[in-house]
Each structure stands twice: as C-alpha cells, then as structure tokens.
Symmetry: C2
C-alpha cells in the first residue's frame, strides 16, 4: 500500500541525481544536446489538477463498502489520480500536464479472496468496470480506464493480500497472495531461507499478481525462469466463480488455462493467489563484469554460453552506446580507481586491440554452491575468451546489482529538464538478433532525423534462452523547438516497435500489451491469434466489465492522443 508519486516513479523524496556522477552532464550534453544542470520543467501542483468528479451510484457504493468496509473504499482525489494510470512515459507526461479525461471513480482495497469476490459481484451487478491494480508500474497502459467509459470505474488495489501463506519445502513451492510487493515477498521468504529470485527493474514497486498478469521477467530469469515458468498454481476470481489451477509440475489438460491467466491483464478476472517456485538462498552469488570488443562479439558469446553446458543466473551485454552511458554514470572515483582504469584502458587498446568506441560491457551471474560457481565461471571464461572478451572482476557487477532498481527514476529527472526517455524491449531467435539490433537502431535514428532532433538509442541483451534472447532498448531525445513531446515520442516509439515486428521479433518480451502495444498485436500473433483472445474475453466477460480495451478491442491510444 505504498503508493508511488502521482506524477512519477517511486516514493516522494527519492530521485535520480547527476551530482555524484561527474561525467554525466557532459555526456548528455554531447549526446542529446541537453544541459541537465538545472530542472527547467515541473509537473503541475496537485491542487492545479482538474480531476473529474467520482460518479459512484449509491447502491454500488453501499455494496462495495459492505464488501470491504467503508475505510477501504476510497474516493479520495489523490488516491484516484495515483490509480488512474501506470508509469509509461505517456502516463507521466499526461499526469504532469494534468491531462486526466477519466480516472477511476473509486479505489477499493479488499483484504482477501472472499472480499475480492464480493467486489466483483457488486461491480457486475452495477455494470461497473473493474481494473485490478498491483503496484501500478505498468508501462503499457494496462491500468487506465478508457477515456470514453461512461460506466462507473473501480480500481481494485490488491495490496492488502500480501502474505506468504505456506511453503511446501519438499516441492519447493510457496503459496503466496497476489498483492505482495517484491521486497515484502523476498523478506518473508528469506526469513525461512528461500528466495523467489524474480527481480524485474520494477521489483521495489510491483507485485506478484502484476508480474503474472503481464508475463514479467527478472534480471535472474536465466536461472529462475520467467514468471510464466515459476507460476504453477493460481486462484483467480472470475465472473463464473473462482478459477483454481492446481500447482502440478506439468499437465495435459488441453489448452493451458494457466497460460491464459498469465498475461491476461485483468481481462479474465482478479488474481488473488499463486503457488510459485521457490529455491533455497544460494550459498554463493556473483555477478562478474566482462568487456567485449564489439556488440556482435558479445552476442555471439551469449549465444554460445546458452548452448553450452554452463548455467548462468544473469546474461547481459550492452551495445557500445549503452556501455558509454554506463561509464558516464560512474561516481566520482578515487585516485586508485583512476590509475587502475587508465591501466585497463591501455591494456585493452594495446594488448587486446580494443577500439574503445565499440567496446561493450557485459555482466554474467553465477549462483549455487562454491564448486558449482567456480565450474560455471571456468566454462564461461573460456567462451568469453574465444570471442575476444575479458573479465574485469566483481566491482562493476556489484555496482549494477545495487543500482539496478534505480534506473526508472531517470525518466522523471529528464522530464524535469524537458527531455523524453523510454524503453522498448523484444525477443527474437539468436539468428535474428543482429538484424533486429541494426534495423531497430536505423529505424530510431531515421525517426530522430525526421523530427529534426538529436536522439540517443542504446541497447542490451538482457535474458538468454535456448533459441534466442531479449533485446532491451532505451532511447532519449529533446523534443524539437515548439514540438509536442508526446507526438514526437510516438514517432520514435512507433519506428522502434515496427522494426521489431518487421524483423521477426515480438512486440514485447516482458512489458505486456495493454493499449500501448495493441496496434502491433495482429502483426505479431496473426489475425487468427487475435481471434482466439477475443473469443476468450468475449465468451467469459460478455458485458466487458473486466478491464475493457486492453490487449484487444479497445480504441487503443487513439482516443487519448492529440490530433496530428
């Protein structure tokens, strides 16, 4: 129940700063022509917002208060604005502008599955819309009511369902309530010697139910699996009763109901509980830094590691632009750091023949017993060497590990200075990754050129599989003079997403569809695939009360976009 800023990422008082990163100001000035010295733009004050009145029919209000207790039914304006959207760059820009055509009429906070059921029944009886809300970190528009929605809209905040109910030690399974936030989940499991091992960038502010509803993936999913692999049992409150998926390891019961709930974004019901894989806390855990001469060499090494007999917990390699950004965010260093760094640079150039402009930073993680970690490092080390890479030790990895959840704060920092930054990620077979990287970069740069702006695009491979990997792009630019940030953002985002689907990659590896990606869904899963989703949603929610307009059947972004 720790709600984030209504206009940005994270809690009040926590922010990104450049002041302890001496190289960053110059880097950003050079790359996108922005001086980050001072904030130049600010969100409206909360009291300046024009917030639509809450329209909650008396009967519905009474039924909801009866279901959860009146203290857990909120029509407070701040609560409603916080629950109006997720945290996409589109959401942040519009929240800061006070562009609030439709916010939920109430925020409801049930305490258990029985209350969730009562809330859904009350909503269906009143023909209200129900939008489940976990941590509110969606960056795909999954949480926003449709602008044209005339029925009452309820945001059902699942945060009170936050307990680890049971650990089945023999099966390495935990039964967990869906509203639990990442840190609280790990805390409860760690106390009994276990970890879930799911660490998406949003970890601090997102929930188990949200991860399941969006098909999340974490930085250690090479070892622990994507959320789809880790989720075995489910309980979901649906219009036709409580759906129960048994926590069996594998089953042959037809089209997978488990895999229908995964990624369902609230369209099939409200997830109240999941039975998930857990593992004992590892004896040893290491993330090592490596450098490769080029991104293609790094990709080839990751591919070979995935095909090898080694098991890694993290596989990550940045392209040259992202590597340069990483180095530019280093903190003020000691004299010794500088000497070492200079020695390393000299070594790379002279002994290894690296071109520092194309060099790529990589992290590979290892977990397990002492002997296991040592053995995996040995196998991986040989592969890295074959691709011209070198190991640079544990310090870069430790730094990455400590700071990985801070990245989303940078968007607010840049918005405060008039610049836009966002991410788009995808997955493709190994054989396509170079083309996806090259053609997506070209598409983004063409979009920047079309807008007449200086933009920056960077990328890393973030998860490896048997047959392919995830590529994660980040981009930033300062809008053209007089240009509308949201419109120009759309030009770049469209170019990137279109490049994904045109190059055999998927519209998103782990950020879901929502409204933000729905226009590419048919190109990705084909028209008959969309028809299957429609059959599922229309057949089980004929009144379209469950988060309508997400994934399919919505007006998409068009309804809330300024005309061109």
């Amino acid at each position: 129940m720790t709600a984030m800023k209504w206009w940005g990422w994270g809690l009040d008082g926590v922010a990104f700063t450049h002041e302890d990163k001496p190289e960053l100001r110059g880097f950003i000035r050079e790359k996108i022509g922005l001086d980050i010295g001072q904030a130049t733009a600010a969100p409206l004050g909360f009291d300046e917002l024009a917030i639509p009145d809450a329209h909650l029919p008396d009967g519905l209000r009474a039924a909801l208060a009866g279901a959860v207790g009146s203290e857990h039914l909120s029509v407070d304006p701040l609560d409603r604005v916080v629950h109006a959207r997720g945290k996409s760059i589109r959401d942040l820009i519009r929240q800061r502008r006070g562009d609030l055509p439709r916010v939920p009429d109430a925020v409801v906070r049930p305490a258990d599955e029985a209350q969730v059921t009562a809330v859904l029944q009350a909503a269906l009886e009143a023909d209200a819309v129900v939008i489940p809300f976990g941590g509110g970190t969606s960056i795909s528009g999954s949480l926003e009511p449709e602008a044209t929605e005339t029925r009452p809209v309820l945001s059902v905040d699942m945060g009170r369902l936050d307990q680890v109910l049971e650990i089945d030690a023999a099966s390495r399974l935990a039964r967990v309530q869906a509203g639990v936030f990442g840190p609280h989940l790990e805390e409860q499991l760690n106390a009994q010697g276990y970890t879930f091992g799911h660490f998406p960038d949003s970890f601090t502010h997102s929930t188990l139910g949200g991860w399941i509803a969006t098909r999340s993936s974490g930085m250690q999913s090479d070892r622990y699996g994507d959320i789809a692999d880790m989720t075995r049992g489910l309980r979901v409150v649906t219009p036709s009763g409580t759906l129960v998926v048994r926590p069996v390891p594998s089953t042959s019961t037809g089209p997978s109901v488990r895999e229908m709930i995964l990624g369902s974004e609230g369209r099939l019901g409200l997830i109240t509980e999941a039975t998930v894989h857990v593992r004992p806390l590892p004896q040893r855990r290491e993330i090592l830094g490596y450098l490769f001469p080029t991104f293609d060499a790094g990709l080839a090494a990751m591919r070979e590691i995935a095909a090898s007999e080694a098991s890694v917990s993290v596989s990550r390699v940045s392209d040259a632009p992202e590597t340069q950004f990483s180095f530019a965010t280093r903190k003020a260093s000691t004299r010794m750091d500088k000497v070492q760094s200079k020695a390393l640079t000299t070594f790379l150039q002279r002994a290894k023949g690296f071109d520092l402009g194309s060099m790529c930073l990589s992290f590979l993680g290892y977990e397990g017993s002492d002997g296991h970690v040592t053995e995996q490092r040995r196998i991986v080390g040989r592969i890295v060497g074959r691709h011209g890479g070198i190991c640079i030790g544990t310090s870069p990895g430790q730094l990455y590990d400590q700071k990985k959840f801070d990245t989303p704060y940078i968007r607010d920092f840049l918005l405060d200075r008039g610049a836009a930054a966002d991410v788009s990620e995808t997955a493709a077979p190994w054989s396509q990754l170079e083309a996806v990287h090259r053609n997506t970069s070209a598409a983004a740069n063409a979009a920047f050129a079309q807008l007449g702006v200086t933009g920056y695009l960077m990328c890393h491979l973030s998860h490896s599989y048997h047959a392919g990997a995830c590529l994660y792009f980040t981009f930033a630019f300062v809008p053209s003079p007089g240009g509308d940030m949201l419109e120009e953002y759309d030009v770049v985002k469209q170019a990137i997403q279109q490049a994904f689907v045109d190059n055999g990659a998927t519209l998103s590896h782990h950020h879901a569809v929502g409204t933000e990606h729905s226009q590419w869904l048919e190109e990705d899963i084909s028209a008959p695939g969309v028809r299957l989703l429609e059959a599922l949603f229309d057949g089980t929610d004929p009144g379209a009360n469950l988060n309508p307009g997400k994934l399919v059947g919505g007006a998409g972004r068009a309804a809330t976009e300024p005309a061109r």
Copy 2:
C-alpha cells in the same frame, strides 16, 4: 503413411512374445491368474466387420478431390476403420469386437498447407466434421467421431507433411512439417548432426503434430523439455485463416496463443508446421541402472536430484511391483549372468540389508560432453548413496533404452489371452507423490476386490521437474467369469483417475483429455477453467466442425458405453 493394425498396436507381423522370457509365464500366472501359454481370444476378421457405409455428399467429395487429388481421398473400408479411433484399450476392445457405430466417411491426405486449407474450407462449406489424424496413437479417445454424429466426418491424415524444412543452426531451431513420424524426424535431423530428443513410448508411430496437439512428453524430457517447452513457432489452419505463432524464445503478448494450440486436440484447427528446439547430437549418452531399498527412498532420491545442481536426461524409478515385472521380462540369460545376478542378490541382502520384495529399479540418464557426464554421475551417485541406493551399471539401462518402444505391444498380447492391461499417468508436487502412489494403489485394489478379480498395479516415476514429478501406473487383470471386459476396465480406470484428482494430482501428465478423461476435467481445472476452454472453442468454431466432443462439450464415453 505407415498405418497401424486396425485392431491393435504397431505394424502387421510385429508382436510381443513371452517365449524368450523364461520367467514371465510363471510371473503372470502368479499375479493375475492367467496362463499366457496360448492365445485364447482373437479379433474378428476384417471381413466379419459391419462397417457403416461412407456418406460423402457429391459436392463435398468433388471439393475434397479437387483439394488433394482423388488418389489422396480414400473411402476404402480398411483405411476408414484404421482412422476410426486411436489405440486406447477401449478402442482396441471395441475394434476387435467389431463395435463400429461411426467411422469417418473419408480419409483425406493433403500434401501441404494450401491443401489443408482447401480441405478445411470444403468441410466448413459442407458442414462436415474434421478430425486431424497424425499417427493414430491417442489413448484418450481424441480421434473418434461422436457416435451420434450425423454430418459427414473426415479424418484428415497429415502424414504427407513429413519434411524438416529448415534448420536454423544459430538458434538451434528446426522448422518441421507436423505430419512427420518420430523416426523419420530423427533421421532427417541426425543426418545434419541434430536431435529433437523427444521419445515418448509411442515414438515409432506418432507424429510431431500429434505430440503438440496432446501435450506429449518423452523419456528424455528432463533434459529436452516436454513438447510444450520445445515448441516455439506454429502454423495452424483455422476457420479464420492460418494462425502463425512466431518462434520467439519468450513473449509478453497476453494469454499464450502458443499454449492454446498445445493440447488443443484438433478443436482449434489443423497444425501444419512447428518450429522446435533441436540440439546437436550428444558426445556421450548413458543410462545407468540403480536399485533402491524402497519406492519411497527412490522418490526421495529423485526429488533431491531435481533440487541439486546435477542435470540428468532421464529420471525414472519403478515401485516394487513394476521392478518385479521388469525382472520377470528378462530374457534367457547366460551362465555368467546368472552367477553375477546371484552375487548381486546376495550382496544386496547381506551387505545392504535390502528386502528383495520391496527393492526398486531406477534409471538415470546423462548426456553431453565426457566431462559433463562424469560430473553429473558423480553428483547423482552421492545422492543415490544417501538414500541407500546402489548403481548396477549400464546393461539394464541399455536394455530399457532398446526395448522402450515395445511396451505398447503387450496390451494386444494380453487381449489375445483374455486379459486387459492399460496405463494411467499423472503429475503432482513432490510432497504429494507418496500419497498419490499409496491412495491410487489402494483405489485400484479396491476396484479389483469389488469386481472379484485378481489385478496387478505397478508404477514408476517417469519425469522430474522443479516442483514435482509424473507417476505412471500400469494395471492388468483378467475379467471375472461372465464379466464384460470393458465395463470392468471402467471400474478400475475410474477408481485410478478419481484417486488422482482426489489427491491433488492432474488427470493426465501427457496423455491428453479426449473423451476418456473429460469427466475429470472440471475437477482438475475447475469450472471456470472449463468455461475458458468452452469460450475458446465456441468462439472460434461456432459450427462445432472441428473434432467436436473432445475435451469439453461431448457426450463423453457415455454414448458408446454399454448400459450397466
């Protein structure tokens, strides 16, 4: 296009024999009171069968002939009878009896996806029923027309789509036509240095499309994954066009369309092609035999191996009854074998304190480089030792490996002698396996007692996962004097399946639902889960032309069962 016997498993001329297994006759006499010396029952002759006439309207016949060429449109009675059913014990009993209330009106053999599309279009225009047919090995009733079906029924045999189209070496993916049989698939892949690694018991006679449509699992799935894990891309001819699932390693595009086709048993369309994981042929491959003092010790060892840092390709442990059956099927042995066996027996009893009546046979497999195999054997060996087990070398594993595809022939051998034998398998969390084993055994024995027959039930753990495993039961009995074999079979099968779902296990781990298991579907996946499947099928196939009655919405077995 190697069609099996119309009344049994496998090709004409291939059969199980007891003559090279000196202990088997005595064993079976002791366990179920049957003398297997002579065949006492035989199927009807083909010319004794009353086969319903083919009703194929002229327009449909012309359209199908136009689609595939008249030589690939068959109304031949043998062809139609072979395609009438799968190979469940219910199917075999009824085929042998000539109980053929409804067989397909035609067998259609398209050569490519365009022809499959034309066949489906012709069928939909004529309001005909389409039942896709791979190798015809379903043991869950997935292939049989509903007895009450009045529309024309087409069995669409996919066997001409049998090519490996492309291998993407970098991604370790192969694009393969769905009608390819197991051996032909491996042959094509092996020629290029690859293996698919999917070896279900039905391997010789089943197809890739069939594996996908039923969620198959193979004996090496611990290493290679279940078919659901190995299948990335799909092409499926549906009423709304060709569904295309991209072969991406992971995606966040909502409820998984890929996982809807898996297990769909022809209800969503005809699978024409899949892009699947392949791996280079391993340098070394070993299956070792082990003995454990009890089944519970074996289960505990398998659980610990699954939780360890070792990776095995096969994990299997039989309970005591199955261990005794395995020993009873040994071939006539040399003098040396006998001496060794006696020495082993003495060692087990004296040095290890084994009770030979509760001893359990296990197989564990290893694949990969020399060093990898050696290391996995070492880790596993320590775990086996901790649970009182010992390694008995490679010969039992080699024998198992060579003979594993012969097992299904035993059912015909027993039917020829008036006895029924069948299998039921399930999966459950590790913590539930002992209870599932104990309570299923008790339920089966109660059923045997109720019938007044001497029955035999045996079981093995066949696949291990992070959080649980598959238990695979086999049972046999001689019907009571004057009793109906099918009715008595149902009493036993019902007891076993009901014990599964009552003990938190699933109705089937890898044999699908069809009509045979549909009565337990709601107990397994819950009523709202069934509703999701109905929404999917009804929404995309409103005329119920695609294999109606399978999984949900059918009359189930009731329509073809004799009245009690």
